[in-house]
């Protein structure tokens, strides 16, 4: 592993810099195959860490391990946020990769929020309190006008912003974004990145974002982790971009085009 000094370097002044999430010696094996090996990674408050790597590198698996969906060895510690969330039951915000669902489903944005935030069956009940909470959250991503639209009517970018708003209600200890802009057009991407960047400052959020969009990720993130089963390289975007293996993987140098997978 090529170590680039990263701890508490180059952080903007708004960042408290504490480690929000500590991943220590994480191993994941599925069906006898090792998918992740000895991952040690500290995520800081107010910092956006981008996770890049070739297909099958274990990026999504790492998120799933953080979500508690796949069994793993090693430890994951979360820093409790004052007010809500405990170390053993952290609040994790999650924005899935393009939601696959039936475009003709009658579920609208309000229903999505109500079903996630409340126990009162949306089949019978529309509570004003939930509607207010949903509107407030949607305002943060400039999407409050979408509240009565069906999910199937939203564009890719709009849907991702709605999901981002949902993931911020309540404000999480850790925000996980799984390729949030794949399938979103260029303007939508820029808007989404701008939102995420703003929210990171506003809520002092710790964010881990899986991305295929290396250029976009380099632009918006504080740190990049290049993952290929192990952490190959991590550090500030400009340093990681210079890494030879990463350049090979993403085909950034056209000297050996046969080696590019991106």
């Amino acid at each position: 592993m090529e170590t680039i000094p990263h701890h508490h370097t180059g952080l903007a002044p708004h960042v408290c810099g504490e480690c929000c999430t500590r991943i220590e010696n994480l191993d994941v094996s599925l069906g006898g195959q090792r998918i992740l090996e000895d991952i040690t990674l500290h995520l800081h408050c107010g910092e956006l860490t981008a996770l890049v790597g070739p297909n099958g590198a274990g990026k999504s698996t790492l998120l799933k391990a953080l979500l508690g969906e796949v069994p793993h060895a090693g430890a994951i510690h979360f820093l409790p946020v004052p007010g809500h969330g405990r170390e053993d039951a952290p609040v994790i915000g999650y924005v899935p990769q393009q939601l696959e669902f039936d475009r003709f489903s009658p579920v609208n944005v309000h229903d999505l929020f109500a079903s996630a935030l409340s126990r009162w069956p949306v089949a019978l009940w529309y509570s004003r309190r939930i509607r207010r909470a949903a509107t407030e959250a949607l305002c943060c991503v400039e999407a409050d006008n979408l509240i009565d639209r069906r999910l199937g009517e939203l564009s890719g970018g709009e849907l991702q912003r709605v999901l981002l708003a949902l993931s911020l209600t309540p404000v999480p200890n850790l925000l996980l974004l799984d390729e949030p802009v794949s399938g979103v057009d260029l303007a939508g991407r820029e808007l989404f990145y701008r939102m995420v960047s703003g929210l990171r400052r506003r809520f002092d959020l710790s964010i881990l974002m899986v991305s295929h969009d290396l250029a976009g990720a380099a632009e918006v993130s504080d740190r990049i982790v290049f993952l290929n089963r192990k952490i190959v390289c991590l550090g500030r975007p400009e340093d990681v971009i210079a890494n030879a293996e990463l350049r090979r993987t993403f085909g950034l140098d056209l000297v050996r085009p046969e080696a590019s997978h991106a």
């Binding site: 799933k64 979500l67 508690g68 969906e69 039951a89 609040v91 994790i92 915000g93 999650y94 899935p96 939601l99 696959e100 669902f101 039936d102 003709f104 489903s105 009658p106 579920v107 609208n108 309000h110 229903d111 999505l112 109500a114 079903s115 996630a116 409340s118 126990r119 009162w120 069956p121 949306v122 089949a123 019978l124 009940w125 529309y126 009565d148 069906r150 999910l151 999901l163 949902l166 993931s167 996980l176």
Partner: protein, 281 residues
């Protein structure tokens, strides 16, 4: 209950003069809303094939009940279906195969096993009433049974409605909100199995799934949000249930199948309305 009976018997229609029709009407009024409610989730969570399979696979439950010599094979039916429902869900999780493969596999095996068990000695015809169902044979004791289970299951479903809806949209998203995603799905599978099999003898194995799916599918064509969706599904289900029952009385046809045909008509009508609305802008 008796009050309703009296009330129905005062209705100025020919069919209302018969006790079996009044019984059947009560049953329809209880089954329809419950089926519609479950149906909205079944359609949203893409489980229509699952519920269909459970209905068909209950042939094995019936066979087991007969072999065990139970006077009323209903409990063997319900027990087997619930186990199968939960089993299909678990099998899919552990093998990570696609759901339709697992369902299709279990359905084929259970139908075959059921037919083998029931056709032993060449008596399969004795059980053909389960294929078509007979709503008019329902007794008042069974109606009370139906009422109690409908209320319990309906209440439980409403309690879990939001969770199942969210899981249906995206399971990881539901899981990220600190909620267990296994139990609700498992219980929902068991609930579908329970409701489908409890009502098999009235509606029939061959068509019970359409009662579940058609009202929800029709409501979907018109609804703009989840509450409208559920309310419309319940209304359509009630309307088709009552209309189908009365139509079957005059046409002298099997009640379950008549209700399904009316529901299919409703579906076609809503599809037309949707198309018309889209064109009108």
């Amino acid at each position: 209950m008796n009050l309703l009976h009296d009330l129905f018997s005062r209705l100025p229609f020919e069919w209302a003069q018969f006790a079996f029709m009044r019984h059947a009407l009560l049953a329809v009024l209880m089954i329809s809303p419950l089926f519609a409610l479950i149906g909205t989730l079944v359609v949203n969570n893409r489980m229509a094939f699952f519920s269909d399979a459970i209905g068909h696979a209950s042939l094995t439950g019936l066979g087991l009940g007969v072999i065990l010599g139970l006077a009323d094979p209903l409990w063997a039916l319900v027990g087997f279906a619930v186990l199968l429902g939960v089993g299909i869900f678990a099998l899919q999780r552990f093998t990570r195969s696609t759901m339709d493969t697992v369902i299709s596999l279990s359905m084929c095996v259970s139908i075959a096993l059921g037919v083998v068990l029931l056709s032993r000695g060449g008596n399969f015809n004795r059980y053909s009433s389960y294929l078509i169902g007979d709503l008019l044979s329902i007794t008042s004791r069974e109606i009370v049974q139906l009422l109690v289970t409908s209320l319990l299951v309906g209440g439980g479903l409403l309690f879990g409605y939001n969770r199942i809806l969210l899981i249906g949209l995206n399971e990881s998203l539901a899981g990220s909100r600190g909620r267990n995603t296994w139990w609700p799905q498992m219980l929902f599978c068991a609930t579908i199995a329970l409701v489908v099999t409890m009502n098999l003898s009235w509606v029939g194995i061959l068509i019970i799934n359409s009662l579940l799916v058609l009202p929800a599918a029709a409501a979907r064509n018109l609804a703009n949000d989840t509450r409208q969706y559920v309310m419309l599904a319940v209304a359509i289900s009630l309307f088709c249930g009552v209309t189908g029952l009365i139509a079957s009385f005059y046409a002298n046809t099997a009640t379950g199948a008549t209700i399904v045909l009316v529901s299919a008509g409703c579906y076609a009508a809503t599809l037309g309305m949707k198309w018309f609305r889209a064109r009108a802008g």
